[in-house]
Amino acid sequence: MMDTRDSIRPVGPVVIDIENITKDYVMGEEIVHALRGVSLRVHRNEYIAIMGPSGSGKSTLMNMVGCLDTPTSGRYGFNGRNVAEMDDDELAAIRNREIGFVFQTFNLLPRANTLRNVELPLIYAGVDPETREERATQTLIDVGLGDRLHHKPNELSGGQRQRVAIARALVNRPSIILADEPTGNLDSKTGEEIMSLFEDLYRRGNTIILVTHEADIARHARRTVRLRDGLIESDDLMTVPELESMALT
């Protein structure tokens, strides 16, 4: 069972295939090169941390991966399909079913209670009301919020809010979870709780990509991609000793 090489290569099918992507933002006279040529291949059930200094293009890359933004040049294949060829409705469908977003600022609807927030992606997927409530409730129980179904976001702690957001990202059973600094607004203890939730998801077979600039957080991932000035600086798989030490803790 134990591999003799110093790291474990992922073996699942490729879900994200980014080739030499660039992204420019035009700011009046000036052009900002947010990404200058990034290539990234992600297999199913990988757990990736994207790191890098502020302004290095992490969020830009995440938005690209999440089909929220389109590259200036380069090719993006999602599950073998060229994203550039999809129309707005297809992109919306992918965001709805294949991708689960978790934001740094939670982005919950303030007037809707926990349950309704989590039901939202199911509404867009056309799920009937009973199944919707059932699945949202189950997902909330899974993230440990079974007793907070009817609370409004402002009646929850930061960690609880992020759990709601995670439940919302999971409820449509997407193949990929994208989290842009999910612990950025949380204290370190709550952050660890959230990270153990991601660990669970990973173990259950989810593909996870998260952006962070905290090494402690990135340590949970099996692969770390470092960005600097819109380019990939390094792309490291976790070594076996590291894996072993993780298993011990």
């Binding site: 929220l68 919306a92 709805n96 977003f101 934001f103 982005n107 609807l109 007037r111 509404i123 867009y124």
Partner: protein, 416 residues
């Protein structure tokens, strides 16, 4: 399809929640629509009220009767041309009936002479003033649509003989005989005793203005004996087929010219009136109410629409980040479009419903204050108002909803 319904109900819930949390703002914004809807319903109510009252009043006249008189039933600018016309005489009826009998396939059935005057009517110590005293023949009953509360109309014998009998209207009976039955009692008209043989059941009033129940009908010979001064005669002619009213009118005009002995080059010196002609006198009133009402409605709806458009733009701006989040969760463009369209529509609908409630209350109060005015708050009007509100909402919400649906998800998510 199912998904559309779910999105619809979701959008509706959001819209309601949104309005609840901004109640003052919503109501103020909807003010234009509220005023517009009040204006349109009050206008509609007034017009249909006039119409209904009119139709009700008209029904008493019967729509198969032509009225030969000195004056036309409409406003005339050249009244002096009519003033000097020869008076209509009750005797014309006999001549007309003779000619009708001689004409094969005549469109006319019978001519009834009437002559009217206003007098007071007394019984014991009670007195009613300004009662319409009408002298006519027993066949008068054919041309009228009224029922009897008690008793009967005078018969042919009484009619011909000019017996001192009378049929009294509901108001007269009510005023003179508050508790007892008037039948076989003697009332005094112009000092002459007339025995009551019948009481006409309640007819209502003409447009709520003058009562049609303040009337006493007596045999023509008796009328001519006592009330010739200042009386005005009118010949009622019943037609056989009311669908051929125009033909009947032409025929009657010919007969009348014959009776009057008019040479062909002379114009008619009498007027043949019909219920329909009265209706057209109403049109200018209805039109001016409609024009004023539509103007106010249009103006306030326009102002309301601008307000709603504005508030929807504000709402889109305030919730830019939410729009971004929804898009990230899989909302399509049309989902967002629908959501804001429904918000603006719900706002207009709120205005419409408040407006309708106001209008309804106002109609109710008017109805209480002036019970005789025919108020008619129709369900059609409610439907039209709701439709107008929804339409206003859709139109005013479209531009902001469209701009929301086109928002770039990343830009929206970054919006602070």
């Amino acid at each position: 399809m199912k998904r559309f319904l779910y999105e619809l109900s979701e959008s509706w819930k959001i819209a309601v929640a949104q309005m609840r949390s901004n109640m003052t703002r919503s109501t103020l914004t909807a003010l234009g629509v509220i005023i517009g809807i009040v204006a349109v319903t009050l206008m509609g109510t007034a017009i249909s009220g006039i119409q209904v009252g009119f139709d009700k009043s008209m029904a008493i006249f019967g729509d198969d009767v032509l009225y030969v008189g000195q004056w036309p039933w409409k406003n005339v600018d050249d009244w002096w041309n009519y003033r000097d016309r020869k008076k209509i005489k009750t005797e014309y009826a006999e001549g007309l009936n003779r000619m009708i009998a001689m004409t094969p396939n005549s469109n006319l059935a019978i001519a009834i002479p009437t002559s009217s005057v206003y007098r007071s009517v007394k019984y014991m110590d009670s007195e009613v003033n300004n009662v319409l005293i009408r002298g006519t023949v027993s066949d008068y009953i054919i041309t009228s649509t009224f029922d009897f509360k008690e008793g009967r109309f005078f018969n042919e014998l009484e009619s011909r003989g000019g017996a001192n009998v009378c049929v009294i209207g509901y108001d007269v009976a009510d005023a003179l005989f508050p508790s007892a039955s008037p039948i076989d009692k003697s009332v005094l008209i112009n000092g002459q005793p007339f025995k009551v043989v019948g009481v006409i059941s309640r007819q209502g009033s003409f447009l709520g203005l003058f009562s049609l129940d303040s009337i006493v009908v007596i045999p023509l010979p008796a009328f001519q004996k006592y009330f010739t001064a200042k009386s005005e005669a009118e010949i009622l002619v019943k037609v056989k087929d009311k669908t051929k009213l125009a033909d009947a009118k032409d025929e009657l005009a010919g007969l009348m010219r014959h009776v009057r002995g008019l040479p062909p080059e002379k114009k008619d010196d009498f007027s043949i009136n019909e219920q329909q002609a009265l209706k057209s006198t109403l049109d200018p009133i209805k039109n001016s109410i409609a024009v004023a009402g539509l103007f106010i409605t249009g103006l306030s709806l326009f102002v309301g629409a601008i307000g709603i458009m504005n508030i929807t733009f504000v709402s889109v701006k305030e919730r830019t980040k939410e729009i971004g989040t929804r898009k990230a969760l899989g909302a399509r463009r049309r989902t967002i479009l629908l959501q804001f369209l429904i918000e603006s529509t719900a706002l207009c609908l709120l205005g419409g419903i408040i407006g309708l409630t106001f209008a309804f209350l106002m109609c109710f109060l008017i109805g209480v204050a002036f019970p005789s005015f025919p108020i008619h708050f129709s369900s059609k009007l409610v439907l039209v108002s709701i439709l107008v509100s929804v339409l206003t909402g859709l139109i005013s919400g479209f531009a902001p909803a469209w701009s929301a649906s086109r928002l770039d998800p990343v830009t929206a998510l970054r919006y602070e």
